[in-house]
């Protein structure tokens, strides 16, 4: 059970589910949720390599912490953009937000 391959498969499934969500959904909050899933898939990969391969186990944990901090920043910015868009368009459907379309 506790092998590198298992964790790699779990991380790949998490990332692909997130990718599917980003590609097929039109609700902006749903897309944000899917991006969080993708970031978590990457984090699981970092921690798995950290446990099974890396020379120093502290480094992978530090990288995971950095990814979490960046995810928090990304969520704050994304949610405020969603607010601004909702106030203008009365909708958070990405296919409606076409004012900048050339």
């Amino acid at each position: 059970m506790n092998t590198l391959g298992t964790y790699l498969i779990i991380a790949a499934v998490l990332f692909s589910l997130g990718l599917l969500g980003v590609l097929q959904r039109r609700n902006l909050i749903g897309m944000l949720i899917s991006v969080e899933l993708m970031l978590n898939g990457a984090n699981v990969n970092f921690m798995a390599f950290n446990k099974f391969l890396a020379p120093s186990p502290a480094v992978g944990q530090i990288i995971t912490l950095f990814v979490m901090g960046l995810a928090a920043a990304e969520a704050a910015i994304g949610l405020s953009i969603i607010f601004a868009l909702f106030r203008r368009m009365r909708s958070i459907n990405v296919e409606r937000a076409q004012r900048l379309r050339g």
Partner: protein
């Protein structure tokens, strides 16, 4: 001996339960149309990932995952849902070609990543230290990774100010 086998199989069972929680929560986070179900699925999936971190040997990162992701980001998303009221808006039909193409793309990605991950012969580093302590992490954050640490805090500050400006100025412009 039987006690050893008991704890071993219990740990294995717990591992698969955590994996099931993670993947099931991720599926709930992506597939249902109702956005509240999506957020609850995200909470379950992130808690499952925290359990995976426990199995990967890092209690600290598991706690951080619960604190930052489940405690902060999911709550922020719930606030966004309540403020932008997507529940009262009509949900347009999903277009079949878009869903089919998205499924095909992510399936191809999944197959490619898994096969690369399983076919590669991973070689562990020759000298591996067994130092998992929080003390080491803090020490490295303040010595070797100090620049990254400071830049991350700057990024967070700028992101917070930017979020306030983006949400506040649009109100002034529209009303």
């Amino acid at each position: 001996m039987s006690l050893m086998v008991g704890t071993e199989s219990f740990a294995q069972m717990a591992f698969w339960v955590v994996v099931g929680l993670t993947l099931g929560g991720a599926a709930i986070a992506v597939f249902p149309r109702n956005i509240v179900y999506n957020v609850l699925g995200l909470v379950v999936a992130l808690a499952g990932v925290a359990g995976l971190y426990l199995f990967l040997g890092s209690f600290f990162i598991a706690l951080m995952q619960l604190l930052i992701y489940v405690g902060a980001i999911c709550i922020a998303i719930v606030f966004a849902i309540m403020l932008s009221r997507p529940l009262h808006l009509e949900a347009p039909q999903r277009r079949v070609p878009k869903v089919a193409l998205a499924t095909a793309a992510s399936t191809i990605f999944l197959v490619a990543t898994v096969s690369v991950g399983l076919k590669t012969k991973w070689v562990a580093a020759t000298e591996r230290s067994a130092d998992w302590s929080v003390e080491t992490i803090g020490h490295m954050l303040l010595t070797k990774y100090n620049l990254v640490f400071e830049v991350i805090s700057l990024v967070l500050l700028v992101a917070i100010i930017g979020a306030i400006l983006t949400a506040g100025y649009s109100r002034r412009l529209t009303s």
